[in-house]
């Protein structure tokens, strides 16, 4: 592990002891964590805070809450390849044990916030376009599956969505999942898609029903 954040902890743990380090945390995961917030918030940024600071505290205390006129809809807690969390999870402490309990992952600890004036389908499409491009091409499901996912989402966004598309996306969520691919890139790419289909299903269906993106 050569993450700078990890390495920076080492001299302090050696100098001041494990107990001191553990006590810095608000939960059983010891120490501090660098949290980041991006999206349409008042003060996007990164802060070193006690491990286990809640999502709501990070968002509202440090990032200053949502920008004027925007409402919070959800967030990816640890980067593009983590599952969406929503309003009900704002009190969840951001640490490695608790976030998985509510169905996502800590990942990098740098949250991406989704607001009510941004299309969740468009956001997921943007992410999947990125992952499709990032695929190394080694294994079939990732190489050929991710571009397909991207194209279906683009169709939804462009008003060409078909009734079966959500089943298709769910199916991709199953077959680009852990245990089917060579590495974790495709499963990671499926995390925001699978959870978006869970929390924002109405938005997806609206795209198909209205044959357009309601946010455009």
């Amino acid at each position: 592990m050569n993450n700078v954040e990890t390495l920076c902890n080492v001299p302090h743990i050696i100098g001041k002891g494990a107990a001191w380090f553990k006590n810095l945390s608000k939960t059983t995961n010891g120490g501090t964590k660098i949290y980041g917030v991006s999206g349409k918030v008042q003060r996007p940024g990164a802060w070193e805070l006690p491990m286990g600071t809640t999502i709501g505290e990070i968002l509202n205390e440090y990032a200053g809450g949502m920008r004027e006129g925007l409402k919070f809809r959800g967030l990816l807690p640890g980067g593009g390849s983590t599952d969406f969390l929503v309003e009900e999870h704002l009190d969840v402490p951001m640490d490695f044990d608790t976030i998985p309990e509510v169905g996502s992952r800590m990942g990098t600890g740098t949250m991406i916030i989704l607001d009510d004036q941004t299309c969740p389908v468009g956001m997921v499409h943007n992410l999947e376009r990125f992952f499709a491009q990032e695929s190394c091409g080694w294994c079939t499901p990732c190489r050929d599956g991710l571009p397909w996912v991207e194209k279906v989402l683009r169709a939804l966004e462009e008003g060409r969505g078909q009734p079966g598309d959500l089943d298709l996306l769910e199916r991709h969520g199953r077959f680009l999942w852990l245990g089917f691919t060579f590495c974790a890139l495709a499963p990671g790419a499926m995390e925001p898609l699978r959870s978006a289909l869970k929390y924002f299903r109405d938005d997806f269906e609206q795209h198909i029903r209205e044959k357009r993106c309601p946010w455009r």
Partner: protein, 870 residues
Amino acid sequence: MTTDRMVHLTIDDQEIGCPEGWTVYEAATAAGIHIPTFCHHEKLVPVGACRMCLVEIEGTLGLQTSCTAPVREGMVVRVHTSPRAVEARRANIEFLLTNHPLDCPVCDKGGECPLQDQALLDGPGNSRYVEEKRHKSKRYPLGEFIVLDQERCVLCWRCIRFLDEWAGDHELDLFGRGAGTRLTTFQGRPLTSKWQGNTIDICPVGALTSRIFRFEARVWELTNTPSICPLCSVGCNTFLGVKNNEVRRITPRENPEINDVWVCDKGRFAHSFVDHPERLTTPLVRRDGKLEPATWSEALDVVARGFKAVLDQDGSQAIAGLGSTRVSNEASYLFQRFVRSVLQTNNLDHLERMPSGATPLQSLPNLEHRDVIVLLGADPSTEAPLVELWIKKAVLRHGAKVIVINPHKIELSRYGGPWLGYRPGSGLALLNSLMRALLDTGLRDRTGRATNVDEVRAWLEPFGPDRVERTTGVQAAAIRQAAELLAQAKQPIILYGPNWLLEGPAGSAALLPTGAPSEQRAGLVRPALDLVANLALLLGGVEAGFVPWDHNTLGALEMGVAPDLYPGQQPVTDNRVRSRMASFWGSALSPVRGLDFDGMMVAAREEGLKAMWILGADPARHCRVAGNLLGQIPFLVVQDLFLTDTASLAEVVLPATSFAESDGSAINLTGRLQAVTAAKYPPGQARADWWIITQLARLMVPPKQQRAWAFSSPQHVLDEMAKVLPGYRNLDRAAMLAGGWQPPRPQEAQRRVFTRVNAVTPKEDPEYPLVLCTGRLLYDRGALLHHAEPVQHVVPEGYVMIHPGDAGQYGLADGDGVSLVSRAGRLRSTVRVSDEVAPGTVFAPLNVNDAPLSVLFDDRWTWPRVQVVK
């Protein structure tokens, strides 16, 4: 790694036992359980990329790629009984097909395509993909032989891995990433590997297809007849795919003892000579000085009367027969039978005759397990490519070393083994020196079986590596390095080729007069063979195998197309053998030793040779000096596929069949007897050699001998061969047809005594300061390839390779047009300056110039001395 330990596992509720080290895929496949694959190929190292072979293994979280999962005791695997695995494989087919163009109706792979088969067997049957498919290059030539369709490619790495793992030619790779990944060559350079055609076979889709076979036929229209490649001594097993009586393509036929599942590009792509419009389609008879078409009965009548007239007027010694290393055993056997029993003479020979003292290689696959391979005047890459492939396997998989002892560098020099580049003619001195250096390494324990080691030490005294440096041109350090390698070798082998044999005459004695008896001439190669035997004995009695050039070199000798040997290499002078043969052949036989080819040409010059029958050989081109004398033979009959230089001198030309048009057999370089099956009808009136010989015999023999010539098929000829040839009594025809039959090898007395070989330094000739040596290229303009248009594009223009030091001395630069001049003749060529040839030597490849290199040769036994002038 496969071991002897057995592992027991359950696959789809079936109890299976298999050796430890197998993969789940191998175990399932062996048990008859189908698992689809694209990237996996049994001959390649698994990579687990395509995910087609996903299975469920109890106790593991995700699905596993069965091609990479090793079996474990007690493992429980579900292939078709796991809905999740079945679904996953179906999904992967669907993924692959999203961007596959599905242009099966115009794809050459259609009908034998794993993607088609697996889409039907394991796929969903329809696709939900409605988006635009991605576009890449669709008809992209990767060189002369292969066209790439990047849209069909499923990026399985098979072609890349084959070229890396087997051919050692890293010419293909994947570029870009993700969905945009493309298969191509580095910087768009053309593929040059001589093994590239195999990537067409192993491509699981129609991405790599043959430019030669392109749109020639749908594969189901082809009749695939098992055959043997006739283009070198390996005898790769093949299928001839024929449609409308034309050979459309050649594909390899698996034979683990010979070519595994591969074949070289020459064997695969150079087949159009078979259906070439210039094939002889009717007999030709000379009338008023011109060769005119004739019927078979006319032509055979002319031949029979011509031979009879000579027999009556000049006797049987005025007739001779020249056979070939390229025709079938049946043809060779009947030819010598005819010459001996009907023409009553032993004046029989063939060019490129293998000396009877040369020992065939024992096994091709065993080459993989040799740790040091000595190549002595042999270049397997151009002369016998499959030998190269097995050597590369030893090098690439097991780290074997290759010692190249040859006047010029060869492809196998690329692995960094020492290159002992000697001046032609100094080979004997060099090998003596190598032995001396070996003894100096203290190799004593290996030589235990030899009785005269101390004598050898004394003989070799004058051959210290430093002392031979000047005469051989080989650095002492290289000799010592080779000796060190050999001293440490556990399983070394020596392979020597026809070029090595020429070191015998050059380095041993003054030239014999051409009128000398044939045995004496044959004895000229003896020192070269003795030295090989000495080296093998010094290394502890290791194998030394001869690698001949031509398809049926062993067969021509074994069938007795030689002045002193009956079939089975039995001496003509042995009365018992002769009376046995006479009883088989229904005629008394001449006890007089025959003339060899040189003897025949001397007789021609002295006007003692009145008639000659040449079967499948072109001495007018390949032995120009002797060939000039052919015109002085009053009655010359030539039997061949094309109107060769020799044929155009003939009184009668008989059109023969190619390997694709007649049944027969051949013996490959390891002594394996293999069946060749007719795959198509011959063009026009061309007829099989056995038929022509039989018909002619029936015209010539008296009525009571007719029964001795009652052959009605080549199988009948084989029946007689099985009786006549020692060791052939148990000939297994089924084996011969399937994978070849190995006759019992004669028990060779283990040599225990070194033979003294004196090496004479070749005389310098200030007027002609350089020695010419020749060799084969893989693709040339030889008799058959000249008529194989697709490979002609890769034949280089004629050149002469000269060392930079010599080039400097004679003021020559790369690309200079020059004349090669010897005492015998001159030839135009182009200079290639390269340090891949020994100083003092020039190398020129055979069969690429318009005029044959043979114009420079004094005789068939010595390299000519030349000057190179602008």
